[in-house]
């Protein structure tokens, strides 16, 4: 998103004292995006992987045993540490990209689908993250911090799930209706946030966080009501989705990859188009850059907030649809997982662009898919994956640290990308 429109050109940082005190959140996001270039992001990933490797080595009891004799046999200790980290990372690679054993087996007439299973798992893990990441990224551009992807996801899961198991429709139509229902369910929750923000000035950070709790308990309640109960089960879980409501597999039933990824890429393209080419996108960026100026230019800021949150909620709802209709085929009380939280870091890592969100989601998807294989193969704690993700974000958030680490020059101001403007402090008109 380097092609900045005129409205986003004025440097938001500190140049508009009239805008009032900068919110902490706005300052935080700004610091992240302003300071980081693609180089910094890539180097942050590299640094995180190195740190993760060190942690893997030190979480391995075998290595710790060798470390006890570090001063008498440093070679053995470092060798064991290297073996431990490289075994874990190569297992992660096998689980996320390709396992060469399956390739050679396939060349001798073995299963071809096994070769593509790691890639399929990476994409399956990335799909809901792309939607959820977009759901956080888009409001960023309008100066809104959407912590509520979890709640919007739940809204989508309830509607998409209900349409998936309770309604009978012809094959193609059913899945389209259920996916659209997911969008509508999430959009309803998002709209509510935007409405409160626009009409009452309620802080969307607090509203979305609180709505997450409301949604989580509402989900638990809904799953306990009789229309959502699976016959024969007393625990809260829905019946299975009808076959007609499931997102079709792209490469046979044995690989989990499904049409959800196509919808996700289409959504990313649509968001990109929306921001770059549409009037609404221009307004969103204008509101994000300077709400007061946008209002002065005759834009309807309130309408912008509502529309942005509505679309963002819908995107989070699509994330739910991709999980409920694409992989799980049922709704359980923990269906929302950590997508809503991961989405925030993905939006930051993706530097506020749809393409960045897709790439960051693929990275996270690969880390998740590879992490499972890593645990199964080497018993490295799965928490390492979370640590690597967190360290990436930490480095992205602290570009000077990465520059110092890799001895980079401070970038020229022009390279920085304005993403979030000074605080959208809405003054009553």
């Amino acid at each position: 998103m380097t092609a900045a429109a005129p409205a986003t050109d004025p440097r938001p940082s500190g140049e508009h004292p009239a805008e009032g005190p900068k919110g902490f959140v706005a300052a935080f996001v700004e610091a992240i995006v302003e300071g980081s270039s693609t180089t910094v992001t890539v180097l942050a990933v590299v640094a995180a992987i190195v740190i993760g490797g060190i942690l893997i080595a030190f979480s391995d009891p075998h290595v710790l045993g060798k470390m006890g004799h570090f001063f008498s046999a440093p070679g053995a200790a470092l060798g064991a540490a290297w073996d431990s980290a490289s075994a874990a990372y190569s297992a992660m690679f096998r689980g996320a990209i390709v396992n060469f054993h399956t390739v050679s087996a396939a060349s001798r007439g073995g299963s071809v689908t096994a070769v593509f299973n790691p890639i399929s798992e990476t994409i399956v893990n990335a799909t809901p993250l792309i939607f959820a990441g977009l759901a956080v990224m888009l409001p960023f551009r309008a100066g809104l911090f959407n912590i509520g992807a979890t709640g919007q996801f739940i809204g989508g899961a309830i509607v998409a799930g209900y349409l998936g198991f309770a309604v009978s429709l012809p094959p193609f139509i059913h899945v389209v209706v259920a996916v659209a229902g997911g969008f509508a369910g999430g959009a309803a929750v998002g709209w509510f946030v935007g409405f409160l923000r626009a009409r009452t000035g309620a802080n969307e950070v607090i509203v979305t966080i609180m709505l997450n709790y409301v949604a989580e308990y509402f989900l638990l309640y809904v799953l306990g009501t009789s229309p959502f109960r699976r016959p024969g089960r007393s625990d809260p879980i829905t019946p299975f989705m009808h076959g007609t409501a499931r997102l079709p597999h792209l490469a046979g039933a044995s690989l989990r990859i499904n049409a959800g990824i196509l919808v996700a890429l289409a959504a990313a393209a649509a968001v990109s188009w929306l921001l770059k080419r549409s009037t609404l996108g221009f307004e969103i960026r204008a509101v994000g850059a300077n709400a007061r100026a946008a209002r002065g230019a005759g834009m309807n800021v309130e309408r912008g907030y509502i529309l942005v949150m509505l679309i963002a909620g819908g995107l989070a709802g699509l994330a739910a649809a991709s999980v409920v209709l694409g992989t799980n085929y049922t709704v359980d009380p923990q269906i929302y997982g950590t997508y809503g939280i991961d989405a925030i870091t993905i939006a930051l890592l993706g530097r506020g662009t749809p393409l960045g969100v897709v790439l960051a989601s693929l990275l996270y998807g690969a880390l998740h898919a590879g992490g499972v294989t890593m645990v199964a193969a080497t018993q490295t704690p799965i928490e390492i994956v979370t640590v690597i993700q967190s360290v990436i974000v930490l480095f992205v958030a602290a570009p000077p640290l990465v520059r110092a680490l890799f001895r980079l020059r401070t970038p020229k101001q022009a390279e920085a990308v304005p993403l979030l403007a000074a605080p959208a402090v809405v003054t009553e008109p």
Binding site: R256, V375, A376
Partner: protein, 315 residues
Amino acid sequence: MVTDTGGIDDRSFNASSYQGLKDAAASDPAIVPSYVPSTTESDYTPNINSLVQKGCGIIVTVGFLMGDATQAAAKANPNQKFAIVDYNYSPPLPNVLGLIFNTAQAGFLGGYLAAGMTKTGTVATFGGQKLPTVTVYMDGFYDGVQYYNSQHGKHVKVLGWNEATQNGTFTGDFTDQSKGKSDTLAFIQQGADIIFPVAGNVGLGAAAAAQQNGNGVHLLWVDTDGCVSAPQYCSLFYSSVVKGISVAVAKAATDAAKGSFTGGNYVGTLANNGVGLAPYAKDVPQSLQTELATVKQGIISGSIKVASPSAPASS
């Protein structure tokens, strides 16, 4: 082994299952145990698949909630052996051994013990989630208290569960100890002095509440012997309602290693020592221990009926 969302250190059924694998490994060096943790229910399928691809001798899946995922994996990989704790299939699958436990019987003894020990005349139980494998304990507990009342002409009240309506108190998950603590404090305020948490790690919150409250509030631990799995609270436990998961898992793993594995169902009962009570605390009087032994024989012989809609059919 694939853990449930409670994690490997839940001091409850995930820990017991893994202990079973470690016990099997100790007796047979050919067995190398490993596990993959699940953080949400969406992890079940990829976790099981990762172990299928690793080529494990037997894959143990832990918990009722993994029933669907295990069934799908077992059908897709007919040569892979599975054992699942707390679930059974009807008809049984040839490559899956369901390990289920009639914990209503042990819960009954726990209820009888609690009713015999309470000073306030009120005892309480709560669950993690409303799953049959949880409510079966609560049914047994409830029945045990009622049986004590009918035998002794007492009116000990049970809070947190009503067998007739099948409704009661649930914290919502098996991880959030703060909810266990707040529910327990609420029970204590209503006069309960013995709490029976059926919620894995959440029970630690109940123990913290009981300890904080002092005043002679005691607990019955669930699934494992609390004095072994949560020794810091041992002085609070009159006993534990134990489910012999580790023994059953160890046997399944050893059988799989020897090649004598057969699918089907195993039902742990009082009769085969698959369920029972852990050793009593020293303040449980001898007379009550003798009564409990009689009740146990009564359940085994069938003269005392333990009815629970969630109890597994007999083996």
